[in-house]
Amino acid sequence: MSERSDIVPTPEGEFVEPTRFAPLSFLLALLGLGGLGLSVVGAFVSPHQFSFSWLFAFAFYFTMLAGCFFWIIVHHVVDAEWSVVVRRQLENLSLLLAVMVVFFIPIVIYRHHLYEWMNIPVGHDPVLDSKRGYLNWHFFLVRSIFYFFFFISATLLFRRFSIRQDRDGNPAYTINMRRLAFVALPIFALSLTFGAYDWLLGIDYHWFSTMWGVYIFAGAAGSSMSLLVLVITALRKAGYLKETVTVEHYHIMGKWMLAFCVFWAYIGFSQYMLIWYANMPEETEYFIRRNTESWNALSLFLVIGRFFVPFAILLLQGLKRKPHRLCLIAGWIVFMQMVDLYIVILPALHGKGVLVSVWDFMPLLGMGATLAFVFLWIVRRSSTFPNRDPRLLESLHLVN
């Protein structure tokens, strides 16, 4: 019988010892430097391939981290109880968006390889000329700066309030964060939507889809919940959060993974079906490229692997309550998010079929290892859970 747990957390919180992850950090630093170093080589050897590979890795990490930020806002907006114990890790993860600014610099430098519309002079393409009011370099830059300014300042504020509350337990911080969340929610929606248009849809300036932003968001939210499951399990394996996060929390995270698995399929299919059914040349261009040659096989793999497989597995109630099995699915969903963005970005470069280049992996490895390194540095700077949040006890004693 699962009676309620009666653990009372220590008000001091739980801290990661500074030297706990030292060997791992060292390894990650080496991998990060190696990956980024080889990426620089790629940038000189094969700049065109490099720019697309870099954008692919950037989009993969950016969407997942932005998704983590989304979960923080939603937590405060709906005044959620269950997520209190996992919230600190979401705050740590979304703080990594500050690192993503550095990784955005190569995209700015190599913009002429990525965004064809920047190379076409006025008067050569009437379709593009009608979009010049939005698609021009200065406005593009201003928008990108705004997105990063918003994401970074908001994540910093949320984390600052949360950590101050750790020290004095003042419930006013909870109210402040809730207020902030209501302001941040619409700005987040606009930033992620237009970020997706600018950075990803902008590769193919002819194509348009009003569902693009929500499509990217659906992938981001689902994969970031999977990432959270992985991070929490890793920390538990290392000996933290053992008493605070229970199978009940895993159950809820599993439910969210299922929900966003369905949501992604719903949005992705809605976008596809309307274009497929109407069959208008200016819209079908995007899908023709991705549904012919070897891209078709990869697209089918995406549909099956990102929706049908995890959907069928996540339907099982028992599985969501087994952390290690849920981790396997979470890892799979993160991998499929990567495949999703690969199909979004790379066909613009290799229209003739899938052509995996060695430069695809370097930015992925370099960015990933660097982000993980910074994460390990951030994680030990605060308690592993918000130890004086007013709703901590409710979260600890969660029952599904």
């Binding site: 019988m1 699962s2 009676e3 309620r4 299919f269 596809y272 079906m273 497929w276 059914y277 069959n279 339907l315 109630q317 029952v399």
Partner: protein
């Protein structure tokens, strides 16, 4: 036989004792859902989810049959220049989805009615005047006489020991 309890936690503790005493035909009544009561009562997983899954699969198969049957075999027709083979499936997905949801929802609704024995206009507990407070501020535990372990003496003793007040025998009429 019914007993009234002063609070939700008293009812929760009493439910655990009745569960451990091995009774099967009994139930608790409270004005609001009590977290953890399922486990305290020793209830297993309900068969509702299995029924809903069955309903959903039936709906899906219905849609598949109704769509692919005519479009492939009975009356193949080229619509919108779309191919007449499995690649037409995107056009059929919305209906598959809708029928799956419709059948699953209906199954959930009717299975719920069956499991709760509804609609039922009358129940012997209505004969107990105090019981009308179950929807207001009363917490009740009722053990039915058809339980194989039920003896009036034993049930009364158990309910009184676990803190029940106004332990009353409720008759059919």
């Amino acid at each position: 036989m019914g007993a009234e309890f002063p609070s939700a936690s008293a009812l929760y503790e009493a439910a655990k004792r009745v569960r451990d005493a091995g009774f099967k035909k009994w139930d608790v009544h409270s004005p609001f859902p009590i977290h953890g009561m399922d486990a305290a009562m020793g209830l297993g997983k309900s068969w509702l989810s299995a029924a809903v899954l069955g309903g959903g699969i039936t709906g899906l198969l219905t849609a598949v049959t109704l769509e692919f049957g005519p479009s492939w075999f009975i009356y193949p027709l080229v619509v919108h220049g779309k191919p007449v083979d499995w690649r037409t499936v995107p056009a059929f997905f919305p209906i598959m989805f809708e029928l799956t949801v419709l059948f699953a929802a209906f199954t959930a609704f009717f299975a719920m009615l069956i499991m709760n024995g509804l609609p039922r206009w009358y129940h012997p507990v209505f004969n107990w005047r105090r019981f009308s407070r179950a929807t207001n501020d009363g917490f009740f535990l009722i053990i039915e006489a058809r339980d194989p372990r039920f003896t009036e003496l034993e049930a009364r003793e158990l309910l009184e020991q676990s803190g029940g007040e106004h332990v009353t025998v409720i008759h059919e009429d």
